[in-house]
């Protein structure tokens, strides 16, 4: 099982859209896929029409009173399951602090899922908290949607420095441009001349598009209603390049 965390310290950069669409494309391609909505806002659960509720909440999961598998729900799409969000996830930091080895709790929790799924996507909340550290320890790769603005790039560098300092074993940082607004000169410039982690071979870029925003209205992944749109094509390209990148040692 490959664990892919859609993560960024900043909020509103397209993490949920990435997780929802890539998880759908993975399942469409034949992979057994699980999406864990770790964000207490529950946007990914909403997009898949699953009620944002886990029996026992984050406390039940972290104390292993309830098995993680018991909380999994099938989506309306073959091979794609979802672990829904729960409002109690907002307290996860506090609960983790009370655990032994709080930094690797999540990794232990997902271990039993390895034989059931080919991909686990984590839709992560923003920030750099103990939950984030757990995500960095559990993931094989971080998918980092990054808006092409100077401040977003600065945040990306901060995250890269943090990961290097903490030395997460084998964790790969895979950034890509997100919410790219072609009307803005500065964004066009940054995308045309990527620097640092975003240098080629890049995973691609996702345009700022109303079709993506409609996911909240239609409550379905973009591919199911907007296959012909440029944004859907961009997600397909992203998924294809991501698979190539993951196949490389």
């Amino acid at each position: 099982m490959i664990t892919l965390a859609c993560y960024n310290i900043k909020g509103g950069v397209g993490k949920t859209a990435t997780a929802v669409n890539l998880a759908y494309l993975a399942a469409l391609g034949g992979a057994r896929t699980l999406l864990w909505d770790l964000d207490p806002q529950g946007a990914a659960s909403f997009c898949y029409r699953v009620k944002p509720h886990v029996k026992g909440g984050s406390s039940g999961l972290l104390r292993r009173k309830r098995k993680l598998e018991a909380a999994i729900k099938a989506t309306d799409y073959p091979r794609l399951d979802l672990l829904p969000a729960d409002f109690s996830y907002r307290n996860m930091d506090l609960l983790l602090q009370r655990q032994r080895k709080p930094g690797t709790r999540l990794r232990k929790l997902i271990k039993p899922l390895r034989r059931d799924y080919d991909y686990l996507f984590l839709d992560c909340p923003p920030g750099l908290t103990l939950v984030s550290e757990n995500i960095l320890a559990a993931a094989d790769a971080l998918l980092l949607p990054t808006i092409p603005t100077p401040l977003s790039l600065r945040t990306l560098e901060q995250l890269a420095a943090f990961c290097a300092d903490e030395a997460y074993d084998g964790l790969r940082l895979l950034p890509f441009f997100s919410l790219v607004d072609r009307r803005k000169h500065l964004q066009r410039e940054i995308v045309a001349r990527p620097d640092g982690l975003l240098k080629k071979p890049a995973l691609g870029s996702i345009p700022y598009a109303s079709e993506v925003e409609q996911m909240g209205l239609r409550r379905a992944p973009l591919e199911t209603y907007g296959h012909a749109s440029a944004a859907a094509a961009a997600y397909r390209e992203l998924w294809s390049r991501l698979q190539d990148a993951l196949a490389m040692p």
Binding site: G30, V50, K51, I72, A74, D76
Partner: protein, 526 residues
């Protein structure tokens, strides 16, 4: 995915009426009708079915998907969208769970189409207030596709497919179907139903004919019965072989061919010289025209082993070799094998051979041993073969040419076929023991000969790649590394020969062979 519950419907039931009933009274959301085609695949020897599974290709308006399904529970274990034609081997599928599982079951065997059906399906869903599907209900009819004829209805059913995390919703539907509509669940193996209806179930096909032999029967009659069975095996492989479906068809064809040829030569005292002379040539010709294709099949089957034998960094260099082998294999099948099997000579041979095998036995046969008892002739011939093997093997030393070992290998094969053809004449434990001893020697001799041939052929293929201009540094390094590994293996196998032969010819085995085969020795009657 959770296990589905199936309810058989009677052939007269209308799918539309069931849909309306569940939609209007049951409050289920009905989707438009689906018209699908399913094609079932397995290896020629039913490896998936043996493991309780089947590979199905579903062809719908939105494209095709391959699914590995459990036959009884009908649970899908792995799936993959299929963009393009159906591949013949699992290794040609995109990497993933389906390929991994298929390779685990099939190893190098090809995927063969077994049957096709038309599926008409109504999907109904129970949805919650979020618009989320909580359970699927499918009403389906299945009809067998028949070339040149109308599809034949096989079965109708209703299926409740629960979704993970929503067991209660499924339970509510199940209760309603059973209590209100009087339906009773029953598991039905649709796969077996379809394959049996198509007359193409690999595990339900007719077993190989048992050759009925007795010790006291005339030896020439017994030989004809064995040859008849081998001929039937050869003919059964023809279609698969001509279509180049799986290397196993040619393999089985050649085994039956070699057994027939060996029997003719090893028991030539049973056949009139005219028969022997004519058919010996025919079998030699068939052996020659099928040999090259079999060699290429073997190289392709060995290819994963070639890759593993060299360092990981060099493996990519072997790809031009694989491409050459594949194109040569296809070319040889099309230009040599299929041409030979469609030839007038092959047709004439089959007619003559069948006529001879069916012809009445001569009352006073001209062949010297034809009218003798089977057990006497079988022992005499086997004993002579065995003694010849001992003499030939004892002369071989480290300096002997490869041809001597090849000749010994052929002698061993002839003895093995004789023993196996008439195995029912001997006590089962003893015959198994001598065959086992012989097999061990044959394994070593086979390895030596195969490596000799492979070394020569692979050098030839490397030259061919060079002529095509595809020979680069990476291919050169990979081929050199492979040849080196094969040379080392050949030396090792040659070194092992001495010990293997000594073990085969030791006192214990000699006593066993003598007791079992030597004419006049005290034998236990069967």
């Amino acid at each position: 995915m959770c296990n589905a519950t199936f309810y058989p419907l009677s052939p007269g039931d209308s799918l539309t009426r069931w849909r309306d009933r569940l939609h209007q009274a049951g409050g289920l959301v009905a989707d438009p009708v689906q018209q699908l085609r399913l094609h079932f695949y397995d290896s020629f020897d039913g490896r998936l079915l043996r493991a309780g599974r089947i590979l199905e290709q579903e062809q719908g308006p939105d494209g095709a998907e391959l699914r590995l399904r459990a036959c009884v529970s009908q649970q899908v274990e792995a799936a993959l969208p299929l963009n393009g034609p159906m591949p013949r081997f699992a290794s040609l599928l995109a990497a993933g769970e389906l390929r991994r599982r298929l390779q685990e079951h099939l190893a190098p065997r090809a995927l063969l189409p077994l049957a096709g059906v038309r599926l008409r399906r109504y999907n109904l869903r129970a949805v919650d207030d979020e618009g989320k599907t909580r359970v699927w209900v499918q009403i389906e009819s299945l009809s067998l596709l028949r070339p040149g004829a109308r599809a034949r209805l096989l079965s109708k059913r209703l299926c409740v497919q629960p979704l993970r995390g929503y067991a209660k919703a499924a339970q509510r539907i199940i209760s309603r179907l059973e209590n209100d509509h009087g339906l009773r669940p029953r598991e039905e193996d649709w796969c077996a139903l379809v394959l049996d209806a198509a007359g193409n179930h690999p595990l339900h096909s007719r077993p190989a004919p048992v050759v009925s032999l007795s010790a006291r029967m005339r030896a020439d009659l017994a030989a004809r019965r064995v040859l008849q069975a081998q001929f039937a095996t050869m003919q059964a492989q023809e279609q698969g072989l001509i279509a180049n479906l799986d290397s196993e068809f040619l393999h089985d064809f050649r085994i039956a061919l070699r057994r027939s040829r060996s029997l003719l030569l090893a028991m030539k005292q049973l056949f009139p010289p005219s028969v022997l002379g004519r058919f010996k040539d025919d079998f030699a010709w068939l052996s020659a025209v099928t040999g090259k294709a079999r060699d290429l099949d073997v190289y392709l089957l060995n290819f994963p082993g070639y890759r593993r034998a060299i360092p990981a960094g060099l493996r990519v260099g072997l790809e031009p070799l694989r491409a050459l082998l594949q194109s040569r294999q296809q070319q040889t099948y099309a230009e040599q094998l299929v041409v030979a099997l469609h030839s007038r000579r092959y047709r004439a041979f089959k007619q003559r051979w069948q006529r001879y095998l069916d012809s009445p036995l001569a009352r006073r046969p001209t062949a010297p041993e034809a009218a003798e008892r089977l057990d006497v002739v079988a022992r005499r011939r086997s004993w002579r073969r065995y003694r010849r093997i001992l003499r030939q093997g004892a002369k071989i030393d480290a300096g002997s040419p490869a041809e001597d070992l090849h000749s010994l290998r052929k002698a061993c094969k002839k003895l093995r076929y004789l023993l196996e053809a008439f195995a029912s004449l001997y006590p089962p434990d003893d015959i198994q023991a001598v065959i086992k001893a012989l097999k061990k020697l044959q394994k070593n001799l086979g390895e030596i000969q195969d490596l000799e041939v492979q070394l020569v052929s692979l050098k030839g293929f490397a030259m061919e790649i060079r002529r095509r201009g595809e020979y680069n540094a990476s291919t050169a390094a990979a081929v050199d590394a492979l040849l080196e590994v094969l040379r080392r293996r050949r030396s090792q196998a040659r070194e092992d020969f001495d010990a293997r032969f000594r073990r085969f010819a030791n006192g214990h085995n000699q006593a066993l062979f003598r007791r079992l085969l030597k004419p006049g020795a005290a034998q236990v009657p069967v």
